[in-house]
């Protein structure tokens, strides 16, 4: 190719890339750096007229976030809320194994050539599609302690068994608020993206493997553990990593709609805490610090996953 054609190709590439690249620069890559810079400032947006007051405090925000101080002979966290909300986030993430396991079971059931399977798959995907404020309002109503669907069903079961069964107060109880969100999360996620990915992985396993195993006299249980499970391990690995990454930075929308982060902060996650700092208190420096802390945690976990997860994956 001659030089002229090459230059023309570069020029064309620049024109094609420009719109996306400018947006990428202004709304993604520069903000990442600005955000890092902000985390070293005590920065606040003044309400009106909107101006920024910022004072350089070095690692001050990180010390406030992660540090402890001695008070009356006991170590107290500088920001106890942060630890509580981190605990909430981790607690809510305990639903992830159930979601993944459930999606796998669903995919195994769907991986059979039966009539009407597309209709079932569509129904299972509906919660994922509709996921948003409307779904959270619906579940808030389902969880209503006196007139909601769930507690009335529990009472009905109690009638049949001749017992006086009373469901918990779900969202308004500090003990049950997180499990409520987790049960809802299971319903939303189980038939969604992960089930589709598992289904695709199952369909890619060559039939011959199972035929050979049958000749050797392997039963369905044995076939699953020695063929299916190893063959879909890359998918399991991928789904797990994505769910963990996503899990750390989620929980705002459902808690904002259903509980406003309560009762008593029981459903406030780190994502919600960032929102509060940013929107309610205009503490942009501290919000950026929490966001960067999240980034670092996610980065380390992803690295560890690649390093050690790679060994259990069979390609």
């Amino acid at each position: 190719m001659n030089l002229k054609a090459r230059n023309r190709e570069t020029l064309t590439a620049i024109i094609f890339l420009l719109p996306n690249f400018l947006g990428f620069l202004v709304f993604a890559s520069i903000p990442v750096l600005v955000s890092l810079g902000l985390s070293f400032f005590d920065a606040q947006l003044a309400p009106w007229p909107q101006v920024l007051t910022a004072k350089f405090i070095g690692m001050g925000n990180f010390i406030k976030l992660l540090g402890f101080h001695l008070k009356d002979g006991a170590w107290i966290a500088n920001d106890p809320n942060f630890w509580k909300f981190t605990g909430n986030t981790l607690f809510l993430m305990m639903v992830i194994p159930f979601q993944i396991f459930g999606s796998l079971i669903l995919a195994l059931i769907m991986n059979q050539k039966l009539r009407g399977m597309v209709a079932f798959r569509t129904i299972y995907f509906l919660p994922t599609i509709a996921n948003g404020v409307a779904i959270y309002l619906l579940w808030q109503w389902v969880y209503n302690p006196n007139f909601g669907l769930l507690n009335s069903m529990i009472a009905r079961v109690g009638d049949v068994l001749n017992l006086k069964l009373q469901g918990p107060h779900w969202l308004s109880s500090e003990a049950w608020a997180k499990p409520s969100l987790m049960i809802m999360g299971l319903w939303v996620v189980i038939g969604g993206h992960n089930a589709i990915l598992y289904l695709a992985a199952l369909q890619n396993i060559p039939k011959d493997f199972y035929d050979a195993a049958s000749i050797d006299g392997a039963g369905p249980w044995k076939k699953f553990w020695s063929i299916t499970w190893p063959m879909i391990s890359p998918t399991t690995f991928f789904i797990t990593i994505m769910a963990v990454i996503f899990g750390f930075q989620s929980g705002f929308m459902q808690a904002y709609i259903m509980t406003r982060g309560g009762p008593n902060g029981a459903t406030t996650t780190l994502e919600y805490y960032i929102f509060k700092n940013l929107y309610e208190w205009q503490h942009v420096g501290y919000a950026a610090t929490i966001a960067w802390f999240l980034f670092i945690v996610i980065f380390i976990i992803t690295l560890l996953n690649w390093r050690f997860g790679g060994k259990v994956v069979h390609y």
Binding site: F27, L38, I129, L137, L138, L278, V284
Partner: protein
């Protein structure tokens, strides 16, 4: 000899019958399981529909009835009056429409450059794109929100649309698809003197219709269901999108028992468009998820 043969064929027949029987049993169990899960998935939606058609007194009846009597549609009429629901609807449609067009177009252009054109630093730049996909959204959120404040874009359509128009995800997904298109087609067009833009327009885009359709739907749905960003950058009912508008309903009932019939009617109207789009195009979703693996 013959006796033995009949015995073998009898045994074969028996085992075949057994096999058919077992197959039938397996199918039966599968259908029962599929239906049970399907009912679990649908029950909350049916509860939503049932509640939205009930009289106020019937909502708080115990035990609750599945079939409302009488069936009333009043909530569906009231929804439009108690808050500017039509305005929320139009805002959501307008914003989702602009975001989708912007995102698909800028992504397609960039993806073509990344997959087909040669220029210095191409792969490094693409790697930088991939890297931003790993960064938590909240890291970017803080400065972009401040940018909206500085630009005085708060409570404008610009804030709702423009930052959402550029994604690394769309570029990545389309690039992966463009890579699978055979190069021979382009080479032939080049020899015929077709310009690079012509190749993009007349060859790449028409061959990528499935991938473009998938990205279009993903983007539209994401925009439709997006909540945190519109909540941050709007502060009037004139600019609120549907999810933010639905949260206004809650505030109307802050100090009283909510009118659940009304809330469920509003929620149902809000999810209906995406559900309909999905049901008729679910094939694209499945293909799109398999293609990129990401988005979850």
């Amino acid at each position: 000899m013959r006796k033995q043969n009949t015995r073998i064929s009898e045994a074969l027949l028996k085992s075949k019958r057994l096999k058919v029987k077992r197959e039938l049993l397996r199918k039966g169990i599968t259908y029962v399981a599929l239906t049970a899960i399907g009912v679990t998935m649908l029950l909350p939606f049916l509860w939503m529909l049932s509640t939205s058609l009930k009289e106020p007194q019937a909502i708080y009846a115990f035990p609750p009835k599945w079939i409302p009597e009488p069936v009333i549609v009043e909530s569906y009429l009231k929804v439009w009056k108690i808050v500017p629901f039509a305005r929320f609807y139009l805002n959501s449609i307008f914003v989702a429409f602009c975001v989708t067009i912007g995102q698909v177009m800028t992504s397609a252009f960039a993806a073509y450059a990344f997959s087909r054109l040669r220029f210095a630093g191409r792969d490094k730049l693409f790697f930088a794109y991939l890297a931003t996909m790993m960064i938590p959204y909240s890291v970017i959120l803080v400065p972009v929100y401040m940018l909206m404040v500085y630009f005085r874009w708060i409570d404008t359509y610009k804030a709702l649309i423009i930052p959402a128009m550029f994604t690394a995800y769309g570029t990545f997904m389309l690039r992966q698809f463009f890579m699978t298109i055979p190069r021979e087609l382009e080479d032939a067009a080049r020899i015929d003197g077709c310009s690079l833009f012509g190749i993009f327009w007349k060859i790449i885009l028409p061959l990528s219709k499935p991938a473009l359709a998938t990205l279009t739907m993903f983007t539209f749905m994401a925009s439709w269901n997006n909540f945190m960003w519109p909540l941050l950058v709007t502060n009037s009912q004139e600019k609120a999108t549907l999810p933010v508008g639905l949260s206004y309903f809650q505030e109307v009932y802050q100090y009283t028992q909510p009118d659940w019939s009304l809330l469920m009617a509003g929620s149902l109207l809000a999810v209906l468009p995406v559900v309909i789009v999905f049901v008729f195009n679910q094939r694209f979703f499945v293909e799109g998820i398999k293609l990129s693996g990401i988005k979850g």
